[in-house]
């Protein structure tokens, strides 16, 4: 497992390097000099342009420029944004990335979970009305034009029903006389969520060792969920900033729902197909012969193994999931990576666009690594498989 992780990490760094190179040369292939955009931008002093030219060494040959770029990138020097002058790109991205991270993680987990649950149900009743209905609904959402889907949801829940706030990250009026900034609250939100997640993970890891009676395990895990959720709610309540935190959460609901809707269907359909294969396996028949209740046969035997190919193809679809996420962010004016990328592109802010694009890639790569490790954890055969493939190559 350790070796597996190490080899994956090595591959990740290599892939990242190639990705950054590709991004660089694609942007180099764009017409015109990078600093040309500055000439016509009244907000940027010419001295800044000269400084930038010097920093980028634009008169040097392309290869030298490329090495400069790579060195700068890995030392964290991403330059200064044109459109947000004089904020450094790194500063802007550091503010944006956690927001995208939370949105992406929440919606990904939700869509994966929903897809998994629905997929195994419809596969278990193959051929029935539920199967056809779910497939049609699934295909519709999967191929839906998501900017439009987002707009429909905004219109329905924000404009018509007024259940949820319209767009953006916060409601500015609420924060006018708040003693803290939205970023501070947001960072504490992420921290508290991570804490709750850690607690749950610990409970799940330790329960088989603590509780020796399998039938009482589910009560312990359920209890852990209640404790974690109650802890989150009461903790925020006690802090006195619950209203502010709730404002951010309510702004998150619609983007998360949209992202979940557009991507759960893919997981669901995959899960269904995968499960149709595993239900024919002998160990599922054996599980049934063992007299396990139907739900246990479905969830613990058929679905658990069917999950593996779903995780694989999910890991492979992360790039497009991320693309969809960035587009959705833009539609909702959620100030994350996607919106800044879009704005930078429109305003020809090369350093910011490059940085945002590079971090989009890093984001996807890290998510891919997480999915890989998850897969290795889910499939006990993986360590054998990887050592075999290493031996053969």
């Amino acid at each position: 497992m350790g070796r597996y992780f190490a080899s994956r990490l090595g591959q990740l760094i290599l892939t990242l390097f190639i990705y950054i190179t590709l991004v660089y040369f694609i942007l180099q292939a764009m017409p015109g000099d990078i600093t040309q955009a500055l000439v016509f931008n009244p907000r940027i002093p010419q001295s800044a342009r000269a400084a930038l030219q010097h920093q980028l060494g634009l008169d040097a040959p392309l290869v030298v420029q490329y090495f400069h770029y790579v060195r700068n990138f890995f030392t964290g020097n991403l330059g200064v944004s044109f459109s947000h002058y004089p904020r450094p790109v790194w500063n802007i991205l550091a503010e944006r990335i956690p927001r995208t991270l939370l949105l992406f993680t929440t919606s990904t987990l939700l869509s994966f979970y929903v897809g998994y649950i629905l997929g195994r149900v419809i596969a278990w009743r193959r051929g029935g009305f539920v199967d056809y209905g779910a497939t049609v609904v699934g295909v519709t959402f999967w191929t839906a034009f998501y900017p439009l889907l987002a707009l429909i949801l905004i219109w329905l829940f924000a404009s018509e029903l007024h259940w949820l706030p319209l767009n953006q990250f916060i409601s500015p009026t609420l924060w006018l006389d708040a003693p803290v900034t939205s970023n501070t609250i947001f960072h504490y939100m992420i921290l508290s969520l991570a804490g709750a997640a850690l607690l749950l993970a610990l409970v799940y890891a330790l329960v088989p060792r603590w509780v020796r009676r399998p039938s009482s395990r589910c009560w312990v895990t359920r209890g852990a969920w209640v404790v974690a959720l109650a802890g989150l709610v009461s903790g925020w309540w006690a802090s006195g900033y619950a209203a502010l935190a709730w404002d951010i959460v309510s702004h998150m609901v619609l983007p998360v729902v949209t992202l979940t809707l557009i991507s759960f269907a893919g997981n669901m359909l995959l899960m269904r197909d995968s499960m149709l294969e595993t239900t024919r396996e002998d160990y599922v028949l054996a599980a049934r012969a063992k007299g396990l209740p139907d739900r246990v046969v479905r969830d613990r035997h058929a679905a658990r193994t069917a999950l593996l190919p779903v995780v694989t193809s999910f890991a492979l679809s992360l790039g497009s999931v991320m693309g969809g996420g960035l587009v959705t962010e833009t539609v909702f004016s959620w100030p994350g990576l996607g919106q800044i990328l879009f704005d930078a592109a429109i305003q020809a802010d090369y350093p910011l666009a490059t940085g945002a694009l590079a971090f989009t890639g890093i984001f996807v790569l890290v998510a891919h690594l997480v999915a890989d490790v998850l897969y290795a954890w889910l499939d006990p055969r993986i360590s054998v498989v990887s050592s075999e493939s290493e031996a053969s190559t």
């Binding site: 990705y19 999967w142 497009s320 991320m322």
Partner: protein, 327 residues
């Protein structure tokens, strides 16, 4: 599971019987095999209701798009032209659906139905062109990598690993805002980017499984060149899978095109995404229900069109992947 084998009594093959001499020309035999293979696949495909629905929708869009040039003979092009038309009779614009404009007009007085029909054939063109490029590149790389293995294989597979993870839409947004990207540029860029991606991995493993079959050895012993073996034996066998991926690629391309058009990044005179962009940039999407004809037909068309190709792909999946079939 208990399998009941229902066997038709097979007549035992007489091992000593003379093989009838082949008198037919080779192309005729090949043609007959092709037709038979097609018919068999069609029989399986027909079982898939989802696939048939998808095919039906594609046919509908085909007729819908083909009807546009015919329609233009019967109406005044000054009014009904999807790009330059303007109807001074049904002010103010956007006007709701009426007998004159079945789906109403857009904010600058152009007929929505006309735009919808006019866009159809371009969507077909973009989708099929990009998918075709992807499939041609993917099939070539996949078969060559599978057949030769070694460095070629490693190189293209690593490249595909990266391409899979590439967030295309953000990249195209950046590229599209820096250069002028029209319909064909978009089609070939997304086609080429897709061609080096995941499709090569799938087709390579398929090519690998074919490479080890005995008729490939037979062809090699018979003196077939590598090129001949790839062209005559491996490519025809990965074709069904290529075709399947082509269907899924059309979906991806059209969605990408619509998204970029919606953001106003593509330089296209008219497309479904463009129609929504027009409505959005003129501010009509805020009152959604009031101006529904501005977004609903185009949005529905995008979703239906993409869903149709995806559904055909799923139907084909049951042809290509026998494990999914019903027993």
């Amino acid at each position: 599971m208990v399998q009941v084998q229902v066997q038709a009594p097979l007549s035992p093959a007489p091992s000593g019987a003379p093989v009838p001499a082949v008198t037919e020309p080779l192309w005729k035999i090949r043609w007959r095999l092709l037709v038979r293979g097609f018919r068999q696949n069609w029989e399986v495909f027909r079982e898939s209701r989802i696939g048939l629905i998808g095919l039906g929708i594609i046919l509908f869009f085909g007729l819908f798009g083909a009807a546009w040039p015919i329609m233009m003979h019967f109406v005044d092009p000054n009014i009904y032209n999807p790009i330059t038309g303007f109807d001074p009779m049904s002010m103010p614009h956007p006007s709701p659906p009426s007998l004159r404009h079945w789906l109403g007009t857009d904010p600058i007085g152009r007929d929505i139905l006309g735009q919808l029909m006019y866009s159809t054939h371009r969507e077909f063109l973009i989708g099929v062109l990009a998918a075709l490029i992807t499939v041609v590149i993917g099939t070539l790389i996949g078969t060559v990598a599978g057949y030769y293995g070694g460095f070629t294989d490693t190189f293209f597979m690593r490249l595909a690993d990266i391409m899979i993870l590439f967030p295309f839409i953000p990249l195209l947004i950046v590229v599209g805002s820096f250069i002028r990207m029209g319909m064909f540029e978009f089609a070939w860029i997304s086609g080429v980017l897709g061609g080096f991606g995941g499709i090569t991995i799938v087709l390579k493993s398929q090519a690998l499984s074919i490479k080890v079959r005995s008729y490939i050895d037979a062809a090699k012993v018979a003196g077939g060149s590598d090129f001949h073996i790839i062209r005559a034996h491996i490519i025809p066998n990965v074709m069904p899978l290529s075709f399947l991926y082509m269907m899924f690629n059309v979906t991806g391309t059209i969605l990408g095109e619509a998204t970029l058009s919606y953001f106003g990044i593509l330089n296209i005179d008219m497309s479904w995404g463009m129609m929504i962009h027009t409505a959005d940039s003129a501010g009509y999407l805020i009152s959604f229900d009031q101006y529904w004809w501005l977004w609903l037909p185009a949005g529905l068309a995008i979703t239906l069109f993409c869903a149709a190709f995806y559904m055909v792909g799923r139907g084909l999946d049951e042809v290509v992947n026998p494990r999914l079939r019903k027993r």
